[in-house]
């Protein structure tokens, strides 16, 4: 069918079915906004990952009384370990400088600490930063080693927090997706009833099955796209008002940028279009005899 007549069919259907369509759009918007929020949270995790992986290292604190032989021995072992790609020595003064730099936002913490209070350290860069556990275990307790710290472990609570919100957002999106399907299913049923004369005539004059289904799928797909646009709008609003407006000032980590927002918005739009069209096709099997 040409676009003109198809649009005319869609328009009559929309006018007949306005309230139903509106509720479908609202549900789809919520569903997709949740999906988008989940995607942005994941983008945030990745942003932090990227930032931290360059910074966080496994740190081997050295005892103050370590001998030169012990240190050479330790460094040899570290150099020959395939899990470790780089070993860097930091003297007490360097450790202290870094400490002051890291906590420059909290002068109270820095106040009572001097260069002598902090141990000299070997900072390790790992081949796989996520496999830090093994490294920690194998070097803890060696001669001259005061302790082995995995800085990434310090961030576990943050990761858990972000993961929980991501899962929560996706779960809500899934629930809303079910609700959307139920509503689209109902919308198609009502629409099929409202269009039964039209479909009967279309069938009679030899319209193809695709043509007979097209107005229904279009109806649902348009609702999906409108819902997707609303959800994308919400994501942009969240970026401007919440992320840029609130969190940047409070956060010690970099936050996801606009590219993550555009990617999520595009994903949300595509899902809105395709999923609603697919749901409509599924519902049509039930409600439209072709």
């Amino acid at each position: 069918m040409r676009p003109g007549p198809l649009a005319a069919l869609w328009w009559t259907g929309l006018r007949r079915n306005l309230a139903m369509t509106a509720s479908v759009i609202v549900t789809i918007t919520i569903c997709l906004a949740m999906l988008g929020a989940g995607l942005l949270l994941r983008a945030q995790v990745h942003t932090i990952d990227r930032y931290l992986l360059g910074q966080l290292e496994v740190v081997v604190d050295l005892t103050d009384d370590i001998t030169a032989a012990q240190r050479t021995d330790l460094e040899d072992r570290l150099h020959s370990d395939p899990a470790i790609t780089a070993v860097r020595y930091e003297s007490k003064q360097q450790v202290f400088d870094r400490f002051r730099r890291d906590f420059r936002g909290s002068p109270d913490v820095v106040a009572g600490v001097g260069p002598e209070d902090l141990p000299a350290a070997l900072r390790l860069t790992l081949a796989d930063p996520r496999a830090s556990g093994d490294v920690v275990v194998s070097y803890t307790g060696l001669d001259g080693v005061e302790g082995v710290r995995d800085q990434r472990a310090l961030l576990q609570p943050l990761y858990r927090f972000l993961d929980a919100f991501t899962i929560g957002a996706f779960a809500l999106a899934a629930v809303q997706a079910l609700a959307s399907f139920a509503l689209i299913y109902t919308m198609i049923r009502i629409s099929a009833h409202g269009r039964r004369r039209e479909t009967a005539i279309m069938r009679l004059v030899g319209a193809s099955n695709g043509t007979i289904r097209a107005p229904f799928v279009l109806e649902s797909a348009v609702a999906g796209v409108v819902g997707g646009l609303c959800a994308a709008g919400l994501l942009v609003a969240a970026k401007i008002l919440l992320v840029d407006g609130q969190f940047t000032r409070q956060s010690t980590f970099p936050l996801f940028g606009w590219s993550a927002v555009w990617e999520s918005a595009a994903a949300v739009l595509a899902v809105g279009l395709l999923a609603s069209a697919a749901m409509a096709s599924l519902a049509l099997r039930r409600h439209l005899r072709v």
Partner: protein
């Protein structure tokens, strides 16, 4: 054009077959009446030709296609070459006359310039050029049926099925519709018309197929509604206006239209005569050109 070979149809819920062992052949360009009491299977037969239903046994061939073997996605093609009209017109109330007719072309994807030229032309042919912008509820029953015929004919089908097209119309209007269907026939379309309208059948003197309880009990070329010869047109059609008498002179012996069914003669196998030549008074030339548009 249409061949039924030992066709039977049982509906799932039916106790007896709606059609049983019907064999008939209708040539291209024929005009055939399908008569018989209510429930005798006329609509069922038409539905089989449209693949609205499938035969339970036997073979239905339309325009060279074994209807039962057409895959589902090709059924629309069959319906493009088989137009149909019904007693209840089946127009879309929210569309104008022109839009109702255009709808039939739009939904099969005909280009806009074609729709723009064929629709007004077809409305002229059915005598509704003036009413193109009216809505169905502003039209009389006869005019609505003209729109329905225009819609069925606008795609220039090779076969036109009409299921009691005059069922809701008064005798004079019925005759006008009959004229229109006859003009469609003159244009080369094969027409099958199921009807209870004895006067029309008697007046037209075309091939008559009669069903009774799903059995084809009569296949008579130039027959009347009932087996026996019919009275002259003047008595059969009190309100008959412009239509001229049938071309084949009926026997003069008047017999009541409701002759007992025992008088019916058995089925005459084989094809009947092709459509009789044009009835005088049918619209002439515009219908005459060969069917246009895709015919298969």
């Amino acid at each position: 054009m249409i061949v039924l070979d030992a066709v039977s149809k049982w509906y799932p819920s039916g106790i007896r077959p709606a059609l049983s062992d019907v064999s008939v052949e209708i040539a291209a360009g024929e005009f055939v009446f399908l008569v018989g009491p209510s429930g005798s299977g006329k609509s069922t037969l038409l539905r089989l030709l449209l693949r609205e239903e499938r035969a339970s046994a036997g073979q239905v061939v339309v325009a060279g296609r074994d209807v039962a073997r057409i895959p589902d996605r090709r059924v629309p093609r069959l319906r493009r070459i088989v137009g149909c009209v019904f007693q209840d017109y089946r127009l879309l109330p929210n569309r104008t006359v022109a839009a109702n007719v255009a709808f039939a072309l739009d939904v099969i994807g005909r280009p806009r310039h074609v729709v723009r030229s064929i629709v007004p032309e077809t409305l002229e042919l059915v005598g509704l050029g003036e009413k193109a912008q009216s809505y169905p509820d502003e039209l009389s029953g006869g005019e609505q049926q003209r729109v329905a015929i225009a819609r069925a004919f606008v795609g220039r089908p090779r076969v036109l099925l009409a299921d009691e097209p005059t069922g809701n119309l008064d005798p004079a209007t019925s005759l006008e519709i009959m004229d229109l269907l006859d003009a469609v026939h003159q244009a080369g379309t094969t027409v099958v018309m199921a009807t209870h309208n004895a006067a029309l059948v008697d007046a037209m003197r075309r091939r008559v197929l009669e069903l009774s309880d799903g059995v084809l009990v009569r296949d008579e070329a130039g027959g009347g509604y009932d087996t026996a010869p019919v009275p002259p047109l003047a008595t059969a059609l009190p309100t008959a206006p412009a239509t001229s008498p049938p071309t084949s002179p009926p026997s003069s012996a008047p017999v009541p239209a409701s002759a007992p069914s025992s008088a019916r003669i058995p089925v005459q196998p084989g094809p009947g005569v092709p459509g009789t030549p044009g009835v005088p008074g049918a619209p002439p030339s515009p219908w005459a050109p060969a069917p246009r548009g895709p015919v298969g």
